[in-house]
C-alpha cells in the first residue's frame, strides 16, 4: 500500500473494515405475538389489520381479518373482545377499540360488497359435510372452501345462522347476519336447510357420503332449572324467550321479572323485557364487572352490555342467589334472594356461600332462568356417550373418530362465544384439509404474547380511545341498533393508536438511531414483516436498536 | 555617507521625520536608509531615529553611532547627558527651541558653534494647529545643508499626506525655511 501525500483518505473507505467482528451479541427481528392476537378465540391478529388500516388500506385490513374470521361485522358487534382486555395499550392509557374496528371493517365490506378472495372448489375436490349453520359450522365451511374443499351444510332451521338469531336486533341487526352469511355461502357452499340430524339425515349416511364431517350443532336446549325442585307453572326459560322475540318480536305479558343468570342470554332477555315495559331484575351469584379489577367471579356477559342494561334500568342483584320461590298457588308472586359470595375453600376451589340474615324479597311475577344451554343429542348419541359435550382434541377431532370433528358451543370447555365457535370451525377445517391433503396438521403458537414491559413507551403519546356513539337510553326502543359503529376517519385514528406489539411499526427508530449505520431500510429485501435489514458486517451489537424499538420487535441474542 | 540621528519624543513624528528625509533623498536619486531605534516607548518617551544618505547602496544595518547631524525635536532632550554622544567632530545640531540660536547657547551654557535652533513647535502650532515640529525641522535641515532641494521635501510630503494636512505642512516648511540661513552647514554636507 502506498501512503497518500499528507495522509489523506478517500471517502467511505471504512467500509473495508468490518466492525461486525467486534460483536458478542447481535440484534434480530423477533416477531412476537401481540396480546390481542393471543387473546382472540377466533385466532385473529388484530395488530396486523390495524397496521393495514393505519396505512390507509381498509380493504387490505379486511382481507387480513377474513383470512381468519369470515364474519367480522357479526363478531365486531357481539364478541366480548378479550383482545381488548389483553391489549397492552390498556396499561398505558386505554385499550384499542378493536371490536369497533372489526365491526367497521365488516360493515365496510358489506357496504362495498367486498368479496372473499376465495375460489370455488373444484368438483373433483373432496367433499365435507358440516352439520349446523351457526358460527362454528359456517366458519368450518368457509375455511374448508378456502382450502379447496367442497362443503355441504345441513341445518335444521329454515334459515342459516343458528344461535346468531337469538341475539337481539339492537345488538346484532338481522340484516348484518344475513349479509355476511349470504356472502359466505356464495363461495360455493351447498346449504341443506331444514335438515335435522337424526331426523332427515343420519350420521352413518354422512360418514358414507362425505370425506369428513364437522359438527356444529350448538347448544339449543335450556338447562333444567328449579328451586329445590319447584318451578312456577308458567315458567318461561331464557332461550325460548329470545327465540320468540327473534321470530315474532313479542314477549309474554308480565309486569315484573327476575332473570336468573349472568351471561349474555340473561342480559339480552332482561333488556328485551325492559324494552317491553317489564320491571326487570337480574339475580346473579357473580359480581358486576369492574374494568379496573377484573376477576374470575365476574358476570360472564360482555361488560358493555351489562353497562347498557344498567343504563336502561335493568336492576342487577349481583352476589345474590335465589333461596325460595314465593308462590301463591302455582303462581309466582316473588322470590326470596340471599346475598352470596364465591369464596375459596381450603382446597383452593371456589364455592358459594350464602350469608344467613341477608335474605330479602323481590316482588316479581316471573322468574326467567337463563343459566345456560346444553346440546341436543338427537342423532349424535353415539358420539356423546352420555356426555353433555363433545370431547375433542385441539383440532376439534372427536376422540376415536378419524373423520368427525366438532366445534362451537357443543364442545367441552367452550366459552360459549361466537368468536370461539369461529375459531373452532377454522381449526377443524384446517385439520380436515390437512388430513385430506395428507399434509401435516396445523400447529399452535402457544408462545407468550409480548408483555407491556417489553415495549418502549417513550415513543408513544397518550391518545383517547375512540368510542362508538351509543343511542341515548330514551331512544333505545324496538330494534334500533344501540352502537353506531365508527366512521372511516375514526377507525383510522384508532388504528393509529396501535402499538404494533411485537411487530415492526416501520417507525425508522432502528434505522435512525444505529450509531454504526448497520440498519438498512428497504421495502424489497426485508421480510418477517419488517422494513429493515441488519448489516451484520458492521453491527457492533450495542443493543441500542433493541432498547429503542418501540414495539419489542428487536431482540439481542448472543453470537 | 551622511548619517543623521533624530531625537524626539513619542508622538512627535520622529520616525516620520526620518522616513521623510530618506524618501526625499531617494526621490532625488540618492541611496538612503531610515529606521527607528526600535523601542517599546509610548507617547512622550524619548525616541531616536536614524537616516543614512549615500550615493551608493547602503548595506549596513547597524545603528548610527557617529552621526554627522543631530536633529533634536524637543528642547528638553538637551538635558539628557548622552544626547550628543558620537556626534562627529564638526557635526551639527538642529534643535527645536523657542529661544533663538543666539539666545539658546548663552542661556543654556553650551557651545553655540555647531547648534542652530528653530522654534518649530511654535511654527507648527501656528501652521498646523498641532505641536508637531518634524517637518519644520526637516525644512530647516535641508536649507542649512542644501543636501536636497526644498522641492524634494515637498514631494516626499505629497507621498505621505494629502489635503489640508499636506497644504498646511507645505506652508509650515516654507515658513520654517525662511527663518533659517541657507547653506550654513553645506561644507559639512560635502565633506
Amino acid at each position: 500500500m502506498k501512503l497518500t501525500r499528507g495522509g489523506f483518505a478517500y471517502p467511505g473507505t471504512t467500509l473495508g473494515y468490518k466492525t461486525g467482528t467486534w460483536r458478542i451479541q447481535h440484534p434480530e427481528h423477533a416477531h412476537w405475538r401481540a396480546p390481542c392476537h393471543a387473546a382472540c378465540p377466533a385466532g385473529e391478529d388484530p395488530q396486523a389489520y390495524l397496521a393495514a388500516l393505519d396505512e390507509g388500506n381498509p380493504r387490505d385490513a379486511w382481507e387480513i381479518l377474513i383470512k381468519v374470521n369470515p364474519l367480522p361485522a357479526i363478531t365486531g358487534r357481539v364478541c366480548p373482545h378479550p383482545c381488548e382486555a389483553g391489549c397492552n395499550r390498556g396499561q398505558y392509557d386505554e385499550p384499542l377499540a378493536i371490536h369497533s374496528i372489526e365491526r367497521h371493517l365488516g360493515d365496510e365490506a358489506i357496504a362495498h360488497q367486498w368479496l372473499y378472495p376465495v375460489n370455488k372448489p373444484s368438483e373433483k375436490a373432496p367433499h365435507v359435510a358440516v352439520v349446523g349453520a351457526g358460527p362454528a359450522g359456517l366458519s368450518a365451511a368457509y375455511h374448508l372452501v378456502r382450502q379447496g374443499i367442497q362443503v355441504t351444510i345441513f341445518d335444521e332451521m329454515s334459515e342459516p345462522g343458528g344461535t346468531l338469531f337469538t341475539i337481539p336486533d339492537y345488538r346484532l341487526p338481522r340484516q348484518v347476519v344475513r349479509s355476511e352469511i349470504e356472502r359466505l355461502l356464495d363461495t360455493g357452499i351447498t346449504l341443506q336447510s331444514n335438515h335435522k340430524l337424526g331426523r332427515n339425515i343420519h350420521l352413518q349416511e354422512l360418514q358414507q357420503d362425505y370425506a369428513a364431517i364437522f359438527l356444529g350443532p350448538g347448544v339449543m336446549k335450556s338447562r333444567e332449572w328449579s328451586v329445590d325442585g319447584v318451578t312456577p307453572n308458567d315458567l318461561h326459560e331464557g332461550l325460548h324467550l329470545l327465540k320468540r322475540w327473534s321470530d315474532v318480536s313479542s314477549v309474554p305479558d308480565m309486569k315484573s321479572a327476575a332473570v336468573i343468570g349472568g351471561g349474555n342470554t340473561a342480559i339480552d332477555i332482561a333488556r328485551i323485557l325492559k324494552r317491553n315495559g317489564v320491571d326487570t331484575h337480574i339475580v346473579i351469584h357473580s359480581s358486576l364487572p369492574d374494568p379496573k379489577n377484573p376477576s374470575e367471579d365476574d358476570m360472564r356477559a360482555i361488560p358493555r352490555e351489562i353497562e347498557q342494561a344498567l343504563e336502561e334500568g335493568v336492576q342487577i342483584h349481583d352476589h345474590h342467589g335465589i333461596k325460595r320461590l314465593i308462590l301463591r298457588g302455582e303462581k309466582l308472586t316473588g322470590i326470596e334472594i340471599v346475598r352470596m359470595r364465591k369464596l375459596r375453600n381450603a382446597a383452593g376451589r371456589l364455592h358459594r356461600v350464602a350469608f344467613e340474615g341477608t335474605e330479602s324479597i323481590l316482588h316479581v311475577d316471573q322468574v326467567i332462568p337463563a343459566i345456560g344451554q346444553v346440546i341436543e343429542a338427537t342423532g349424535m348419541e353415539n358420539l356423546l356417550n352420555g356426555s353433555s359435550w363433545f370431547k375433542v382434541n385441539e383440532w376439534g377431532q372427536i376422540a376415536g373418530k378419524d373423520n368427525i370433528y366438532a366445534g362451537g358451543d357443543a364442545i367441552e370447555g367452550n366459552g360459549g362465544t361466537v368468536t370461539e365457535a369461529i375459531g373452532n370451525g377454522r381449526i377443524a377445517a384446517e385439520a380436515i384439509a390437512a388430513n385430506l391433503n395428507k399434509n401435516e396438521l396445523p400447529t399452535f403458537n402457544k408462545a407468550e404474547p409480548i408483555s407491556f414491559t417489553s415495549l418502549n413507551m417513550e415513543y408513544f403519546e397518550p391518545a383517547p380511545r375512540v368510542e362508538e356513539a351509543i343511542l341515548p337510553v330514551e331512544e333505545r326502543v324496538g330494534e334500533a341498533e344501540i352502537e353506531s359503529g365508527l366512521t372511516g376517519r375514526e377507525a383510522a385514528r384508532e388504528a393509529n393508536r396501535c402499538f404494533a406489539c411485537g411487530n415492526c411499526l416501520r417507525c425508522d427508530n432502528c434505522w435512525t438511531l444505529c450509531p454504526d449505520s448497520a440498519v438498512l431500510k428497504t421495502d424489497e429485501v426485508a421480510f418477517d414483516g419488517s422494513y429493515y435489514v441488519f448489516d451484520y458486517d458492521y453491527c457492533k451489537g450495542c443493543g441500542l436498536c433493541a432498547s429503542e424499538c418501540p414495539t419489542g420487535y428487536i431482540r439481542m441474542l448472543d453470537e | 555617507m551622511i548619517e543623521v540621528r533624530i531625537h524626539g519624543r513619542g508622538g512627535q513624528g520622529n520616525v516620520v521625520a526620518a522616513y521623510l528625509l530618506a524618501t526625499a533623498a531617494i526621490n532625488e536619486g540618492w541611496h538612503a536608509q531610515a529606521f527607528p531605534a526600535f523601542g517599546a516607548e509610548r507617547r512622550g518617551a524619548p525616541v531616536v531615529a536614524f537616516v543614512r544618505l549615500n550615493h551608493t547602496p547602503i548595506k549596513r544595518r547597524s545603528q548610527v553611532l557617529a552621526p554627522d547631524y543631530l536633529i533634536i525635536q524637543d528642547e528638553a532632550l538637551m538635558n539628557v547627558p548622552s544626547i550628543t554622544d558620537g556626534l562627529k567632530s564638526g557635526g551639527n545640531i538642529l534643535l527645536n527651541a523657542a529661544n533663538s540660536r543666539d539666545q539658546y547657547p548663552t542661556e543654556n551654557n553650551v557651545d553655540n558653534s555647531n547648534l542652530i535652533t528653530l522654534p518649530a513647535t511654535h511654527l507648527a502650532q501656528q501652521y498646523l494647529g498641532r505641536p508637531v515640529p518634524n517637518t519644520a525641522l526637516l525644512s530647516a535641515f535641508l536649507k542649512l545643508t542644501d543636501l536636497l532641494p526644498h522641492s524634494s521635501l515637498i514631494q516626499s510630503l505629497e507621498e505621505r499626506f494629502t489635503g489640508a494636512v499636506l497644504e498646511k505642512n507645505i506652508a509650515l516648511i516654507e515658513a520654517a525655511a525662511e527663518t533659517i540661513p541657507a547653506n550654513l552647514w553645506k561644507q559639512n554636507a560635502n565633506a
Partner: protein, 406 residues
Amino acid sequence: MLKALEGSQAIAQTVALCRPQVVAAYPITPQTHIVENIAKLVADGKMDCELVSVESEFSAASLVLGAASAGSRTYTASASQGILLMSEVLYNIAGLRVPMVLTCANRAISAPLSIWNDQQDSMAVRDAGWIQLYCADNQEAVDTTIQAYRIAEATELPVMVCMDGFTLTHTLEPIDIPEQDMVDSYLPPFNFKRALDPANPTSVGTLVSPDFYSEARHSHHHALLDAADEIIAADNDWKQLSGRSAGGLLSVDGPDDARIGILTLGSVFGTLSEARDEYTELPPTKLIKLRSYRPFPVDALRHACAGLTELIVLERAISPGYGGIVSAEVQMALSGKPDMPRIHSFAVGLGGRDIPLDIYRKLHAAIKVPEPRAFSIIDVEPEKLPVEDHGIESANTDSNQQRSIS
C-alpha cells in the same frame, strides 16, 4: 522603479501582487506594519481578498490552513511569541503538505521579554517541516515573497520568509516593487489539487499508524530536500524576469582565494559586507549568505566552502546548553570533507543588540586561536552578567577571573 518604502509596506504591496484570496492578520511587533499595510490596501480597494483579523496567531495559522485546504491562496505573517504560539499549527500545515506563505518578522523570544530582532523564533520552528528562506535586505524580502508562492505551490510545502524584525521591517530604503503583470506571468493562479471539495470529498488529517508514519516523515523530508531544485529554479526564473536574484539556496560574496569565510543568515550580511570594505587590513574574507536554511543546502555549502580554512558561523539565535544551531548543522554538513575548514560558532545581536561594523574585526580576532573555541555570544558583556549566574559565561571571558568570582 526604486521607491522609498518601509520594509513592511513593501512586503504588503508585494503580497497584494501575489493575489492571495485569504489573509489572516494578528498584530505582533515587529510584524504589525505588514498586516496594517495590507488592511489599508484592502480598505482602499487596492487588494481583493478576505482579510480576517483573528484573535491569536494560533488562529491566524489555523485560518490560513483551513483556507488553503479549501483551495485558496493565503498569506499571514507573525513573529516571536506569535510564531511559537502557532508552532503546533506550523507543524500541522507542513505535515498536511499544504502550500502557503508566511512572513516571519524575526524577533527574540521571551523571557526576558524582548521585542527586538534576532532569529530565535524561526529557529524554534526549524523542524516544523517548512521551507525557510532568510532575507538579507528588503528587496530580497520582496523578491523572495513572490518566489515563495511559486515554490510553495510547486512543492506543496509551506514557505516561511524570514526577514529581520525592525532591521528590515521598519527600515525605509529604496525598493523595487515589480509590476503586477510581471508577477502574474511568474505566478500561475492557485490550483491546489488536494483542496477539499464536496464533489470529491476526501478526508484530510487522518490518524496514521506506526506502519506508515515513518514513510510520512521520510516523504516529507525528501520533499523538502527536493524543494532545493525548485528554490533555485524559482530564483533563476525570477532573475530572468526582473533581473534580480534573491540568492538561490545560498550565495557567496568575496574573493575566490579567501581562506576565511563568514556564514550568516539575514540582514547582518550587509553590515559585514560594508565592514569588509572598511577593514581592508584584515585578511580576504568570503561572506556566505545562507538563504535556504530549510532545505539545508549541504552540497552548495560544501562547494561554497572550497578553499576555506576558517569558517565563522554567525547566528542570531542560540540553543542553550549546546550553543550554535546553524553551526552544528554546518559542522555536520562539512564533516568528512578532506579540506574541511575549522568552524567557529558565534551568536551575535541577540534581542536587538546592535551589530556594529566593528563586529567584523572582532570575529577576525576571535578565530586567531590554536583550536576553535566552543560557541560563544560574541557581543556579550561579561560585566553585566548577574552575580548568581556569573560562572556560566566562560567561553568569552577570562576563565581565571570567572573562577575567582564563583
